[in-house]
Structure formats: C-alpha cells, structure tokens
Symmetry: C2
Subunit: 309 residues, 2 copies
Amino acid sequence: MILTVTLNAALDITYRVPRLRPHGTHRVTEVVERPGGKGLNVARVLASLGHRAVVTGFVGGGTGDALRRLLAESGQVTDALVPVAGATRRTVSVVDAASGDTTQLNEPGPQVTVAEWDAFTDRYTALLRDASAVALCGSLPPGLPVGSYAQLVREAHAARVPVLLDTSGEPLRRGIAARPDLVKPNAEELAGLTGSTEPMRAARDTRRRGAHAVAASLGPDGMLLVTSEGVWRAAPPRRLSGNPTGAGDSAVAGLLSGLVEGLPWPERLARAVALSAATVRAVAAGEFDRTTYEELLPRVTVTAQQAAA
Amino acid sequence: MILTVTLNAALDITYRVPRLRPHGTHRVTEVVERPGGKGLNVARVLASLGHRAVVTGFVGGGTGDALRRLLAESGQVTDALVPVAGATRRTVSVVDAASGDTTQLNEPGPQVTVAEWDAFTDRYTALLRDASAVALCGSLPPGLPVGSYAQLVREAHAARVPVLLDTSGEPLRRGIAARPDLVKPNAEELAGLTGSTEPMRAARDTRRRGAHAVAASLGPDGMLLVTSEGVWRAAPPRRLSGNPTGAGDSAVAGLLSGLVEGLPWPERLARAVALSAATVRAVAAGEFDRTTYEELLPRVTVTAQQAAA
C-alpha cells in the first residue's frame, strides 16, 4: 500500500453565494463537505489509479467525526488516522457564483500534545512496515515543532520506504535537510526556500540542501524534474484554465504511483503533469477528470534538459 | 418556565481574520463557536434575568451535536430540542480585525420532513402545558410551509399561553393573521409587511392585520409599542454604538420576562430597550452587559403617545 500523512487534516466546506459582498449578510445557496488536507487528496487520486492508499495523521472533535464518516462513505481509502483531543480544523471556500472566484478561510487546526505526537509516531512506524512509499503532506497543526517532518523522513529512511515531502516554509527547509527522496515545491515555495526565482537554479540548490530529487511545479506550464539521473521538463499539450485546487496533490499521486510501479522518471513526470492538468479541468474542485487525464497523458511532452546537476 | 422555539437553530461560528480580502486565502487567527438562533439567544437572556428557560426546535447532525454540547456546558437553559435527520446549519461570521466589520454567511438549514414536524408539534404541545409564555423566533428551515408559525400561534392560544412572534417575510405575515399576543418587527420588516416606512402607521396596520400588540424596534432610537391599552415610545438615554447582533433577541427577552412578571407595558418596554442597548455595548456579540443594563434601565425614557389605536 501507499501511505499518505496529513498532520493537519481538514473538513473542507464549500459555500456557494450569489455574490460575495464584504461586510454583507449572505444566504448560502449550496453547502458541500468533503474530507480535506493534501494527503487525503493524494490518497483519493492514488485509489482512483488503482493503488491501495492508507491515510494517517490526526483527527478529532465533531469535525473529525464528520471527516471520518465522509471518508468511510466514499470507501476509497483506508482510514488510519490517530485521534486527538482537539477538533479537526475546517476550511471554508466561499465561491462567488457571479465571478466564479473563491475566498478561502482556513482554521489553524488542533493543538497537538507531545503524548499525541508519540501516539502518532508509533502508528506511523507500524504503518511503514507495509508501505511501498509514503507522502508527507501539508501544514503542521499548532503545537508541533517545525522539525516534525524531518523526524518522519528519518523514520521512513530507517524503514527503507521511499518518502516524498510536500510542505512549505520552515517545516520544508528542515524536512529537506533530512534527505527525502523527493520534494514537490511550487515556484513560490522554491523561491522562499532558496531565494532564487529561477526554477532550475532553485531546484538544483534544493538538491544540494538534501533532497534527492526535486519536482518543481510550474503551474500551467507543467513541471521541472531535477534528479541524480537527469533533468526533465514536462508540459501539457496546451495551457489549461480552471480551478487549480488539488492540482499539486494530483501531481504528488502521479509521481508516487509511478515510483511504486517502477516507471522511469520521464513517465512518472508525464503522469504527474497529465493528472495535474486533469484536476484543473475537473468540475468538482480537487477531483481529476479521467477522460481529460487519458486524453492528455500520451500528449504530454517530456524533454531532457542539460546533464544532471 | 418560559418556552422559546427556534425552528432553524444554528451553530454560530465566528472567525477573526487580520483583513478580509475577497478571493484571497486567509489564516483564521481565532475560532469561537456558540449555540445560535434567535430563540436560543432569547433563552440565554431570560436565564440571565433569573427565569427558567426551555428551548425547543430542531437539531441534527454533527453540528447539532456540537450545539447541544455547548448548550449543556453553559448550563443556562434546558434543552428540549427535537432531533431531525438533516444537519443543523452553521452561520459563519468573519470579523475583519482591521475594520471591525463582520461578513456573515448563513447556511439554509436542514430539510424538515412532515414526520419530523409532527414529532415537533407533539413536543411543543406538551411543553406548552408548563409554559407561562412562549416566543417563536427566527427563520423557517427548508421544507416547512410558510404557515408553520401560524399553526404554532393557534396551538399556544388553545393552551392559553401568551405567544410572541419574531420572524420576517411571509411566515410573519401568515403568523400575524393567527393573532399572536405580540410581534417584534424592526422597521424593515414592518415596511415589508405593510408597505409603510412610517413606524406608527405600519405598527397600527400590523395590529389591524391580527397582532394584539406590536413592539417595533427602531434601532438605536429605541422602540415603539402599540397596544390596545396605549401607545408608548421608549429611547435609551443616549444613542449607543457597537455590535447590534442579538439586540433584537434581548428586546424579546425583556418583553417576555416583563409579561411573565406582570409588569405594566411601559416597564416591559423600558426593560426591552435597556437590554437591547446593553447587548449592543457588550464585548461578545449576542451577550448583554449587565452593568450597562443596570445603569441604563432607570434612565430609559418612556413617553405615552396619542390615544391607543
């Protein structure tokens, strides 16, 4: 199975309003709830690709109960979340029906205690035994030290399980120093990490800092992959517009599934780019459109760049 | 005891954000949850005034569980809510810390079935036996006919329990035709009902339509009371600025407690105006500030107007 870790899972709530007016009162015309957090999105896409996906991380409170119920109803992924006393955060997306734009409100998440972190790491270590790969995804809830992902990377190494890290800020910086097999930053995260706005330079710098491979997402232009075996750039056949929510998570699922299936790097990259584009084009935010995926996959262009760094 | 009915109870969630930017992504810095809906607010104020308050209406889902837990923790009012299959709605208030302004997002509420409505009316009829007064408060959840409040008014009459109606739109119009003892519209609701923007004329028209007495709230200018015994106007000693959330609910509690205590109309009105102003001045939205209330109560001016209509 493939394990995904979402330390700050969320109950994603989408509100549709006719038009968002700051300081006004709005009747919400449509309410949609779904289990959220990057690792949960990755797991759903992995399941759609035919992989067994297990999700862990923290869950608590009434919002956590709602998340688990939705997860069980969908039946796609295995729930190995660890209970905490605090409540799972909500994220509220307010979609303005007039413009189609979205305003996002993200709760911080539960305070996690040292005892809860210990319970989680025990569970994580046990789950690694059966994992063919693990993805560590998203922000840290309050109370967890910035080195938490670095610790989880080291434990994956000890268990000889390939580990992908997808986070930002100081947890990303510290996690990279623990030498993950792959990181998937976007251009903004790369710039924050390295100070360089030039993706190739920034990705190479990120490898020097510890990441074995760097898959940098370049938004609608595709992805840049820098590894010890080579450097590739992949682009969809055309720039696709739509809702980018979850596109990065689909890319992670593409990379991870390709790794587990033993595909060569260029094929993993093509899959990541096609899944990402098919997510942007999907009707529901965070889902991918299978027809678009199957149409795009053979048409993604992957080009080798200069020799490996 | 005093009974309050909240057919569309809510889990009120308040988010504080540094600055609300439409179409932006916001980290919520503070999350506060409380049981919401007009009747629940009225009951809390009644309890603070020393009355035993019982709340009924519908409750369901994980949000309903959260509401009931918060209600039980506060220990102020007795929970006689009736379970439904649908989930209790959320209301989200987004407070912009920079401006202090609030943006409100109100979910529609659960679909209520005919069987659930029947279960509720059985419970309501039983509760009326011990009630010295009843307040019917707020919007109707989806699925209930606009004549629902009219039915509840008639059942209160049958049980010889004085009934106050505080709603808006067509449910108010239909409820008034069932001859409630008192309605508490604001100027906007009065105008919607009667077509007149002149409060005295509109209040008299509302009596002709069926309400025995009309307490019209005039915002910071106080209230106008039109009854068969006389007409009074009451104003706070000064215009008070602050958060008007819950001010109308506090006025309902003032009117209802005064009725049950057998106070003359002018004293009920003074209490309603002082409680309402003390709610506007409170730090927490929807609470009233007791010191302000006690300071204002003897200083509210109540003046008799021309002879009763």
